[in-house]
């Protein structure tokens, strides 16, 4: 270890390998058998349970928990996967504190919900160590192109394959997984789980993968429509919103998503560089992931700067607590005005904001923070030109079943209109689009 947290500038090896390994270990260690039984026993098996309603994939949560408590974790996992084939990843990354666990009656009763996420992981981990549990229906002879191998694309491909269709799964990157593989904080999905999950999911068969194909660059939508019986687009949001401030072009002003992706793909965290003073601009999950991971890599000071009030942050209370307990400082109602530095970032100038009901405005007061590194995490946007697809709110316009304005083209996940930009929402949209495609292919 040549450097320390005090080393100026942007550098690697601020922490020892042991410290890094500890910092990036499992955020929520899995339950053991007895812990799972105790946790499962807390479920009241509610009538028309609120947790099921709150789950975007409508997993029958009381049923799977009861299956755990009766010693049948494999059946529990089947209950989960029937609704959500990426139930393993969702068990790790779902913001359960704003979904199922938020509405758990135990939360109402005692402020301590049933640990649904951990129980889901307990069940899914067991079944995923066994051969793939689903079999394909008889081949239909139909072929579907799925563009984008993230959560939506994977869920759609799996359901299509299960229904007997042939699937070609395209992705711009060199491996599948999408944000599961490239975009989620490392401590949420350790030990190569994302790739293991992809392998397990694809082992249903009937899905061929083609990498290095980006829609609009070397993959043409019109051609896909001609070559396949149906097309499902799950291309995510490829573009990163710019700050639009002076100095944004300086060195070490980076996209948070790239930083996270680099970190996730790194085989040796001690080789990753991070600033001594890091400022992350944004208020969502990506901002928190980038801020916390900067801290865990050994940055001395990490500040998360969000232009609106805390109650408007997209990051959940749990995520905010995670950030502050990791040593990240959260500043709200501050907006970056310029990045200062000679070639590379050295400081960020921020202005205070207020919203008196007439929209956000600067108060006029400004201050500066030292910043060797600035991460932009103020949202992503659709990166797709002249596709002929109708857009809504900057995303591909879809109806409830995922149909786009183009005949034979469906879309889901972050690139499509509607829904929260969550893994679990993407899975639901991919699954539902697959069922709609199946219906169309078999009945028309």
């Amino acid at each position: 270890m040549v450097n320390s947290v005090l080393t100026p500038g942007v550098t690697s090896s601020r922490l020892s390998k042991d410290e890094l390994a500890g910092n990036f270990s499992d955020l929520h260690p899995p339950l053991d058998g007895h812990e799972a039984l105790v946790a499962a026993d807390r479920c009241y098996f509610c009538y028309d349970a609120p947790c099921v309603t709150a789950c975007p994939t409508s997993i029958d949560i009381p049923l799977f928990i009861r299956q755990i408590s009766t010693g049948m974790p494999e059946s529990a996992a089947k209950t989960i996967f029937d609704q959500n084939i990426l139930g393993g990843m969702c068990a790790r990354v779902c913001p359960t504190e704003t979904l199922c666990e938020q509405v758990c009656v135990r939360e109402t009763a005692e402020g301590k919900p049933v640990e649904i996420g951990l129980l889901q992981r307990f069940a899914t981990d067991r079944l995923m160590s066994e051969p793939h549990p689903y079999k394909r229906a008889a081949e239909t002879g139909k072929q579907v192109a799925v563009v984008g191998a993230g959560p939506a694309g994977l869920a759609c491909a799996h359901r299509l394959a299960m229904n007997g269709h042939g699937v070609t799964l395209y992705d711009a990157r060199n491996k599948a997984g999408g944000l599961n593989e490239f975009g989620i904080a490392a401590y949420k999905t350790v030990d190569g789980f994302a790739q293991d999950e992809v392998d397990w999911l694809l082992s249903i068969g009937g899905i061929s993968q083609v990498f290095g194909k980006r829609l609009g660059e070397n993959l043409d939508l019109d051609q896909l429509r001609k070559d396949f019986d149906a097309v499902f687009l799950a291309i995510g949001l490829g573009g990163v919103n710019a700050l639009g401030t002076e100095g944004e072009e300086k060195d070490n002003v980076d996209d948070a998503v790239n930083f996270i992706s680099e970190l996730r793909q790194s085989e040796d965290l001690s080789k990753l560089s991070v600033g001594r003073n890091v400022v992350v601009v944004g208020g969502g999950m990506t901002a928190v992931d980038a801020a916390v991971q900067s801290k865990l890599l050994g940055a001395q000071h990490v500040t998360l700067a969000y232009r609106r009030g805390q109650e408007q942050m997209n990051a959940s209370g749990f995520e905010q607590d995670l950030a502050t307990s990791s040593g990240v400082t959260i500043l709200t109602n501050v907006q970056p005005l310029k990045v200062i530095g000679n070639g590379a970032a050295q400081e960020v100038e921020l202005g205070y904001t207020k919203d008196d009901g007439n929209g956000l405005e600067l108060t006029g007061e400004t201050f500066r923070l030292p910043a060797d590194q600035v991460f932009k995490a103020i949202g992503q946007r659709l990166d797709l030109d002249d596709s002929g697809l109708e857009l809504a709110g900057g995303k591909i316009s879809v109806d409830e079943s995922g149909k786009t304005s183009l005949n034979g083209v469906w879309a889901g996940g972050d690139c499509a209109s509607g829904g929260d930009d969550l893994t679990v929402t993407a899975v639901a949209e991919g699954r539902d689009a697959a069922e709609d495609i199946h219906d169309k292919l078999m009945n028309s």
């Binding site: 039984l37 105790v38 009241y44 028309d48 135990r106 009763a109």
Partner: protein, 435 residues
């Protein structure tokens, strides 16, 4: 402060908590630890007749069922009476009694159903200075195959006969321990009473198969692929024991027969319930085997505090206080009309009351928008199932309809007077209500 001192058929102990005849009372070592911990007395684990010691299985003797977090709810066992030499036990009993004169030391005995066998062992026990004997007519497994234990306890004539032999032979108080594995507990109790017993103690364990190994397809505990029925005890059997204790307490044929209450006593509250239903003291085993002897501290302090709260000075003052309120169904007041009421402030909206009522009862709970659950008085028969399945204490209560108001279910005015089945018009053998 409440006085916990107990005098049960002349046997004195500083509190009414004895350890039942079982593994915790098999040796001086255990018994002394119990006395050091504060137990009022013990019933020494059952002695058999002189001869080669009893042989136990060498595989598992116990099986269990558990509730949440592996809380032990029921235990069964296939252990036999003491497997130590008779004279070793007698010597230790004598030493312990001498060392702990203020504690009750009662000796459980089980010998063959022959007068000579009893006449032979009783003087030996008497010589130890023990305070009394308990006749083990209850053990449902192993010894019963040899014509002892429950095999005697299931035949009232044998109970009476052996009790009579004992009373004729010894000066010590004779407590007859009853098996619950019969149809009507009053018959063996009456037989013991007729035979001159000073008291009965109950219940012994309930015949049971606690579980089946679904890989080996054999009852558990499994010994080399086979299992045998055992004796069931622990918190799960308490309701059975309470009922049997009450049955004897209110039987006009055994008036005032002292009862030592046994069966799932785990807390001070359990003890208070047994005593209220007529037990003069209680015996504990499974709770001690689960948590160790230290639980006596909770039991004595709990009972003492509760008695203080109730203004009860002596344990004897509330023995049987609940017995007059144990009646037959036919005498329950049919004009006592209640309705379930859900407290919306405490309701956590789990909907268990709704599922229970809608699926399995009277469709008397409505589920309204926003998961609001409300009782439909027109349908509610006051069965109490919603109260029992509700996970929140006191969220659903049963509220009595005031006399004179109309029960929306029946359209009838609630009668202020007591009225039971015996005088109900639907009863073909109804008599005019007794005034």
């Amino acid at each position: 402060m409440a006085n916990l001192a107990s005098n049960f058929v002349g046997i004195k102990s500083p509190n009414p908590f004895w350890l039942a005849s079982a593994p915790p009372t098999d040796k001086a070592y255990n018994v002394e630890r119990a006395f050091e911990a504060g137990w009022g007395g013990v019933v020494w684990k059952t002695l058999g007749e002189e001869g080669p010691p009893i042989v136990n299985v060498n595989g598992p003797r116990y099986g269990a069922i558990w509730g949440a977090d592996r809380r032990l709810l029921g235990l069964n066992n296939i252990e036999l009476i003491t497997d130590r030499d008779l004279y070793v036990n007698l010597r230790e009993i004598k030493e312990v009694k001498k060392k702990w004169p203020d504690r009750a030391v009662v000796v459980s005995i089980m010998v063959p159903c022959e007068e000579g066998a009893w006449k032979k062992i009783l003087p030996l026990v008497e010589e130890t200075g023990a305070d009394g004997i308990e006749l083990n007519f209850g053990c449902p497994h192993g010894m019963s195959e040899r014509g002892m234990g429950a095999a005697v306890g299931q035949v009232p004539e044998y109970i009476e006969m052996v009790t009579r032999w004992c009373k004729a032979t010894t000066r010590m108080p004779v407590i007859v321990k009853l098996t619950p594995n019969i149809t009507d507990i009053r018959y063996p109790a009456r037989a013991a009473h007729t035979g001159g017993a000073d008291a009965v103690s109950l219940i012994n364990t309930v015949s049971s198969i606690i579980s089946v190994d679904l890989d080996d397809f054999a009852p558990q505990p499994t010994i080399d692929g086979k299992g045998s029925h055992g004796g069931y005890c622990g918190p799960a059997v308490k309701p059975i024991a309470l009922n049997m204790v009450a049955d004897i307490a209110k039987d006009p044929e055994t008036p005032g027969l002292p009862i030592s209450g046994i069966g799932g006593v785990t807390t001070w509250r359990d003890a208070a319930e047994f005593i209220s239903l007529g037990a003069g003291n209680v015996q504990v085993c499974t709770a001690a085997m689960t948590y160790g002897f230290k639980i006596i501290d909770e039991m004595t302090s709990g009972l003492s505090t509760w008695m203080d709260q109730k203004g009860i000075e002596n344990v004897a003052d509330f023995i049987g206080r609940a017995v007059p309120n144990v009646t037959d169904w036919q005498y329950l007041n049919l004009n006592y009309v209640t309705k379930a009421k859900i407290n919306q402030d405490s309701c956590i909206q789990c909907g268990r009351c709704y599922a229970a009522c809608e699926d399995t009862s009277h469709q008397a709970i409505a589920m309204k928008d926003g998961r609001v659950f409300e009782v439909i008085d027109e349908e509610c028969v006051a069965c109490n199932l919603c109260v029992n399945v509700c996970p929140v204490d006191n969220c659903i209560t049963m509220e009595r309809l005031a006399p004179g108001t109309v029960d929306p279910r029946t359209g009838q005015k609630v009668d202020a007077d007591y009225g039971n089945w015996t005088s109900h018009p639907n009863n073909p053998s109804a008599k005019a209500a007794a005034e």
